[in-house]
Every structure is written in C-alpha cells, then in structure tokens.
Symmetry: C2
C-alpha cells in the first residue's frame, strides 16, 4: 500500500483560521472561483452518465445530484487554477474524479447497508443492492473511458493507482471493523487509503494537466492527502457530535455498525477495564442497547477523545497549509486555504 510516511507525521498544530473571529471559513470563495469550470464539469457528468438503459442515469443522477459538495472535482479545478492552467482538460478529468468517488459511494452504501446519505435515501435503499453495484461499475468504467479519451497515461496511472488503493483500504477497513484494539496508526492508514488518496489524486491532476514541475505536483498531491485525512477525521467526529440535520446522515451510524474510528480507539485506549468491556461489547460484538450511544458519547467526553481527534485533524490541516506555501498568494491559494479551515471548522 503506497502511503507516504510524511503525511502520517504532520508537524505540531499551529494557530490558523484567524478569520474565524470575523466570519466562519466556507467554501464560497473557492466555489466562486471555479464556478464556470464546475458548470462544465456538471455538463460532462450529465452527458457521460447517459445510457439507453434508463436505470443508469436515474440511479447515478440520484447520487450525483444528492447534495454532494463536489469537493473532489473542485480540488482538481482549484489546483489547475492555482498553477495557471488555461486549457480544458481539467474539466473532464474532474468529472472522472467525481465518477470514481460516486462509484465508491454506491459500493460503500451496499457494504455499509446504509439507508441514508446526506439526509436522503441511499440508492441501494431505493433501487436495491444489485443496481447500486452495477451502476457503480458502470461509472467506474466510464471514468476510465474519459481518461482514455483525454489520452494521458500519467493521469491514468494516478487514478488507477488511487482506485486500487481505495479498494484495498476498503477491504482493510472491512476486516478491521469491529476491532476496538485497532491502533491509531492502522486507522490512519485506512483513512489515508480510503479517503485521502482520491483527494491527493484530484489535486495532483491539476498540476499534471498544466505540465508543471514535479515539485508543484508533489506539493498539490501532499496538500490533497493532508486535507483528505483532516476531512475524514472531522467526519468521524461529526458521527458522534453533529446535529443530524447539519450532518445529513444519521448520528451514531458508525457506532451502530461497529466502525472503529479515532474517537473510539482513543477512548478504548484510555478506558479502564469496565469501559473496555463496554467498547468490546458494543463495537466488537455489536451487542447494543438504546442507551449505549449516549454512554459512548459520555466516555468520549470523559477522556476528551473528540478534542484529541480534532487536534489530530488540525495537525493535518496545518500540514496542508504548509503544502500551499510553494505557490504565489493568489485568490486561488487563499480560497484553498479557506477550504482547509472550513473542513476543520465544520466540527465546531
């Protein structure tokens, strides 16, 4: 599994996000900068998910249109803008990134047996697991067709490598699920594989299409990877702390599925024998009562594991900020910095 060691060792957290005194960081600046490109990406997505088999655009449209932030394709567009790219290749390749992400979501929801995603019924809840598996396969294949049409073996390598690592990470997560003794290092490797790798690939592609020096490619790849880990750690926190309406998913999903995430790992590690027995019963054995989620949240508060997880997330966010130091302080860079802060800030 090709996970860089550097990304697992971010520097100490630094004070960032001073603007939050005035207003909270958001996606708005970046969304404004890439709005025209993003409209083209959406056109590509609509066009390329078309099929005479009507269920394909129906089902794919359900998930593609279901309120996702288009975060990953926006990273490709933002990175291309950051390095001054003036062509059009980033549009279709950003759509590829979104298709691969969407295929992963469709297969994830089958794997997780989820009924809700972003507050809406999942595709598998509406159309069944079979359709979700097969339409995911279609979108994945379509992504590779688009890459072939683009014609860059380098991009094909980046995204086929990313796809293999994602699948490997998902299997790894499947076999570590329901094991509260999972180490923090093993857990970080899972989320690097299943989330951060696609963020990294998405950002890297912006430099690849612009044919920028290797140093910029590497910096953008590292930026995406660090941002992805921070993003996932905050997601894990939200699963125990968010308002369901804001989160758009069911609070406690991870707990009920016995998913081992960092707040759990740290609480287990800090717990006494009785607490460990609680985690083993609820997470390993999935033997849960209605009160257990509340007790789990109380144990996390007791040991401060939500705060500790957010501290880790901030360290990755700071590393992502440092990755951007290579680039001129343009509007694109400022907007990307704000996205980093947004990803962490949404936990508060």
């Amino acid at each position: 599994m090709s996970v860089t060691a550097s990304a697992s060792q971010p520097g100490p957290a630094e004070s960032r996000g001073d603007q939050s005194a005035d207003r909270r960081p958001s996606f708005d600046a970046l969304r404004g900068l890439v709005a025209d490109d993003l409209a083209k990406v959406n056109e590509t997505i609509i066009r390329e998910m078309h099929s005479p088999v009507a269920l394909i655009p129906q089902l794919a449209g359900h998930i593609v249109a279901s309120g996702g932030k288009r975060l990953r394709p926006m990273l490709t567009l933002a990175a291309a803008g950051l390095v001054g790219y003036e062509g059009e290749r980033h549009v279709d390749l950003a759509a590829c990134v979104e298709f691969i992400h969407t295929a992963t979501l469709l297969h994830d929801d089958v794997v997780d047996e989820s009924d809700l995603r972003r507050g809406q019924d999942t595709a598998n809840a509406v159309w069944g697991n079979q359709a979700s598996v097969l339409v995911g396969d279609f979108l994945f294949s379509r992504a590779f067709q688009l890459m072939v049409a683009d014609g860059s073996l380098k991009v094909l390598k980046i995204l086929s490598d990313a796809s293999a690592i994602i699948a490997e990470g998902e299997v790894h997560q499947l076999v570590t699920t329901n094991d509260v003794e999972t180490t923090e290092a093993a857990y970080l490797q899972v989320i690097e594989s299943k989330t951060a790798v696609l963020f990294a690939a998405a950002a890297q592609i912006g430099a690849v299409v612009a044919e920028r020096p290797q140093s910029e490619e590497t910096a953008l790849e590292s930026f995406g990877r660090n941002l992805g880990v921070a993003f996932q750690l905050v997601d894990d926190v939200l699963d125990y702390s968010a308002e369901q309406e804001a989160l758009g998913k069911t609070v406690g999903d991870d707990f009920r599925e016995g998913k081992v995430t960092l707040p759990v790992i740290l609480a287990y590690a800090a717990g006494d024998a009785e607490e460990r027995a609680f985690w083993t019963r609820t997470i390993n054995d999935l033997d849960q009562t209605d009160d257990d989620l509340g007790h789990a949240q109380a144990l996390m508060r007791k040991h401060g594991t939500i705060a500790l997880t957010l501290e880790r997330a901030r360290a990755y966010a700071d590393a992502a900020h440092r990755d951007l130091d290579l680039f001129a302080p343009t509007a694109h860079r400022r907007a990307m910095e704000e996205v980093i802060d947004f990803c962490v800030d949404r936990a508060y």
Copy 2:
C-alpha cells in the same frame, strides 16, 4: 450501446465439426499450444492479486483458482499466436482480461445471490457480499494498473469500452429480468454486452499487441464476439438440460431467479394462453412450486426451444469459423476452430 449489427445476423448454420464422428472437440489442442504462456499468465495473476490485506488474495484466489477454464485469457494468447506475435505483452494483458472477468463474476454472484459457481461455494457465500464487492473493485483497478504499465492507450480503450458495455448490459439484464415478453433481439443484445464483448476484446488484443493490420484486428474481434454469443446461448441451454455434476452449477438457477433466457423466450412466444400464464407466474412473479422446473423443461421439449436455441448458437459458431478464414491454416487456427466446436458440442 455499441453492438455490431452483423454479429446479430449470422449466416445460416453450416455443417461443421466433422471430427465429432471420431472424437469430441475439446480445449486440449489450444491448451497445449498456449501452455507456456498460460503458465506465465497464472504467475502474473498470483503476483498481481497480492496485497498486504490478506483477504484480497484469499478471496481472489478462491475464484481465480476455482476451476475456471481461463477461456478469455486463452483467447488473447491464442489470437497472439495466430498472428505470429513474438513479444511478451500478451501475458500481462491476458491477466487483465481474467481480472476483469473475475471482478464481474464476484459482482454477478452478489447480484444473483448465488451460492454455487462451478460446483463450489461462491465467494459471497463464504466471505459475504461486502468483501466480494470490494475485492471485485480491487481486481478491476488492478487490471487498469496493469494496462497502464503496458502503456497502450489502444488496449486501455478496448478494455475500458468493454467494461462499460458489460456493466451497462448487466444493468439492462437486471431490469429485463422477470419479463417473459423480452424479445429475442433484446435478449441477444444483453448477452452480446455481458458476455460477448469481453470475448471480443480478449481476441482483438492479440492482434493489437502484434500491431497487425486493422482487418485482422476486426476479424479477431468479430470471432470473439460470435464465439461469446454461442458460448452464452449454450450456457443458457445447460441451465435447463445439464447434469449438475458436469455443469458445476445448480440446474434451474436461471429459472429459480426468473432469468429470461432464449429457451424461455421462445417457449413463451410459442405457448398457448395457459402456458403463457405458467411462464408469467413462474418467471415474472417468481411464484414457483417444486414441480415447476420440470414442467418448464417439458414445455421447452414440447416446442423444441432447446433445439432452437442451439440452432442459434450454431449459427454464431459458424460465423466465428468464417471470421478465422482470413488467417493461414496453422495449428493455432485449427485449435481455435476446435474451441468453437467445443463450445457448442458441450451442450450434447
């Protein structure tokens, strides 16, 4: 859906397979010719399905090793041999073809909820649906990584196109399942998409790596497509007529799942009102008793729909023979002709 019209209109059946008076056609000649290459393909398969996540080689190994005939990679090897290719690229690309096929099988078994394949437990029966979905994704990604390492955009186009058509065909089949009014033409399009396209791609790649003229590429692509349709039609027949031991799957699987295959389509079309009510009840509504499979087989005998389906299969087999007429009558060509005859002969 890019399905060629010509393949759907094979010429009238001609008398072939004269050698069956002496001995039945088999795979043995072809297997002998490609034995060295096939050993290398198996090495590539073992090497490339390795992962530090142990479940991946375990599960992939289960299906890769579970008695499949390696028919598709052998088509790549045979086609390369037919056109006199002397390099090594066909080995890894044949492994790609097998990985794509294996990924499709893993996802198919989840979709079909099958417990047996080739007489063994399916991967999903042993490890669960989740693992089958994710390991399928891994093998699919790994296939693209291998193609990228090979470096031919043309091969990448052939196999990404094939993968998209396969997924589209599977979704199409999912929505036409349980509809006995499916037309023969619609059914043939499904099996061209879900089976014949990968046969076609596998054979075509043999000419591509050898950089042979377009006419040879086209002939091999057509050969694979016609062979694939013949192969699938015979498979459909075997599901109603084979000895379970010989078939290695459960006779009547298609019937019990309400799969609409050509023997059913033709029996429904030839049936009176009472018979049509039987098919609608058993296939559309999946309302079946233990006696229904036997009654279905009796209706097929009454209307001769097994024989009619085999007649169609023979027409495609004859078209596959004609596709090979372009090539010199070498040992490779004779062995490939025998494989065509074997694919049909196994129904008797």
